[in-house]
Symmetry: C2
Subunit: 440 residues, 2 copies
Amino acid sequence: MDSVKTIRAMESAPVTTAELAALKDGGGMVTVHGMVHTLRNFGGVRFAVLRRHDGVTQVVLPEDIRLPKEGDAVEITGAIVAEPRAPGGYELRAESIRVLSTPSEPMPVPIHKTNMGLTLDTDLSLRPVTLRNLRARAVMKLQEGLVRGFRDSLNARGFTEIHSPKLEALSAEGGANVFRVPYFQQHAVLAQSPQFYKQMMVGVFERVFEVGPVFRAEKHNTARHLNEYTSLDLEIGFIDSFEDVMSNETYALRYMMNLLRSEYAPQLGSLKLTLPEIGAIPALRFDEAKARAAEAYNLPRVDPNDLTPEEEQAIGRYAAEKLGSEFVFVTHYPTKKRPVYAMDDPDDARYTLSFDLLFRGMEVTTGGQRIHDYDRQVAKIAARGLDPAGFECYLMIHKHGMPPHGGLGMGLERLLKQLIGANNIRTACLFPRDTTRLSP
Amino acid sequence: MDSVKTIRAMESAPVTTAELAALKDGGGMVTVHGMVHTLRNFGGVRFAVLRRHDGVTQVVLPEDIRLPKEGDAVEITGAIVAEPRAPGGYELRAESIRVLSTPSEPMPVPIHKTNMGLTLDTDLSLRPVTLRNLRARAVMKLQEGLVRGFRDSLNARGFTEIHSPKLEALSAEGGANVFRVPYFQQHAVLAQSPQFYKQMMVGVFERVFEVGPVFRAEKHNTARHLNEYTSLDLEIGFIDSFEDVMSNETYALRYMMNLLRSEYAPQLGSLKLTLPEIGAIPALRFDEAKARAAEAYNLPRVDPNDLTPEEEQAIGRYAAEKLGSEFVFVTHYPTKKRPVYAMDDPDDARYTLSFDLLFRGMEVTTGGQRIHDYDRQVAKIAARGLDPAGFECYLMIHKHGMPPHGGLGMGLERLLKQLIGANNIRTACLFPRDTTRLSP
């Protein structure tokens, strides 16, 4: 049996930056590891900034210690001492350094600068290293926080997380904006949304959510579109009205912002961000919102059935200026522009029991109540000139019993873009995909 | 302003089954909703089993109440009373019922039976409704628990969650088992793993994980393969050895099992499952494991560089019988069978610093240490007859500095399959994808 090893469970996490800072008055010795983010020399004293998993640590390098290179992976032993001018109010006085690995070439761009001064295109092309910039890293850490908050809020309210397939049969609904994939002897498409699957799972778990990629083959390259993005989806059974879905989103967003406030303060600070306060969120009917924004800001009326990006901006501005909210729900979208599963307003079938949520003037969520009755769903499919036979799997849930239900999909990168005030959604995505960009 | 509504945050979750059970001695009135799972009549007394979001509730229906139909979505008001023979030790004596929706056709299969008696093919074709079966639902709830445990364990140890793209440029590594996707003027492929991206992100966050879909265009339909599955991936910087990766997996798995034990007891009970105890996990070198299993169970030796499913089974059996563990690490896989980024064993370059984890005789994880040095990685790419220029984005991290690192990918559905003792991996997946199945 001598050649049998046993692998015990990992016992601890790497020391956190908060733990290091807490040592500053005790003067204890520590051994930490990290990447040499940058080297500096002030008045003959040599400093390194060590980039660690959750923060940075200023290191003083005495003359008897061999200077590491920028980009080195190092392990440093030394004493933590108070230093008000250093990040976190402490610094590490190195006594020994072990270089664990060293780069073969220096960084192609100054990743240690607050502003790297790169065009977006250069930044994205060098993304594997530009994400090491502390501000870029902070943005992606906030992305994690938003997802955590979304999940935790829903776990606390009886939702079950699901994983639906991203490869689907070509839908009877068709759609120009789908990616087609040769799939053995068939053709598949990439999921544009987990819509049908999350509705199916409402019949199983009543309340479900999913965080996963969705794919949109839209041919336009804009600052607000990605061809692949992360969708935060939820679907709830036993609603009384589509307002229950909005109420759930209000709850989830408030939870997400509170989580960022409590656990992501360093990132918020590094990006100098102010989070929106979420009390109650105002809601305006589509026609009303359109009219008020047009009147307030003298906008031309273009498509009566949809909102232009300019109209969204104006409605967002109106909500901020007149309603005191950075979020605003726009409800009762015209039936013509909503999908076949949207429930029509029983009071006026030209409108649906649906909504978008605008955040700082951009749509970040689409949601609404769905049809649960089999005959009504079949009728609406047929009224659109589609063949109900092509929806057989989906209609199984309506046929065999579904509660009244509704849900929403939130675009993670859009929400983050608006939160950080970025000009371009690509900044809010690790490795964005657009019509020409497939790598890195 | 009268047409402005305000949407407040949802205030509470639906009442839980545990909360209902706790009312049984107080005899309080409640209003609950759910789906009529099945109707029964015992000695003239009419019962319904109500399927709710997190359990089932037995309901007594007095004669003056109109009998609902199976599959109805209902809201029931009544008194909770103790009833030792009912699930959870209580029942609901209905005083009024409101039918919220009603199916247009009865269930095509007896979803209320413990064993529905269906072929796998029929089950999968009717998946939107067969998942409403309580055992099927319990399996998918355990899937949620595994993912939660994986994430929570890693969040507690300083890992950052990432979302990497699933559409990639065609890799220089090629690979027969990739799905190709026409992508505007180019061709994309679907990610077989987040491998390169999670390594890139180690340079940013040091420790990262991802839970997401991966796609394998394998042409064989077996009981252990899916063409799309959910991969639990992690990658860790600053490891001393690839054993640190195994140690991390031991920790995560133990955390996952403990979470199931504490929060998923009803599901474990309904499936009559015994969870594996995870102390330390034994590890055997590939050659040694192969030899011992062959000797112990008189197996033919087939491919010296790989393990057949029969060999995996035998090694699993050996670990259970001789080493007292349902998990076993197999380490030092032959270099020939491992990918180009695997680090060779410095003591013998025919082997790699890599491992698989077998659970009850099936591989559920592949992992290992990766090459971090630029020149070594370029040399290994070239030695395989590949052009390093094709790996430019990936090699950026090696060129500009990477810590020693390693990681692993765990197949969620395989882990769940083994946990529930299913014959076929499709049982452990919501909506499985195989070479012929793209819907539901």
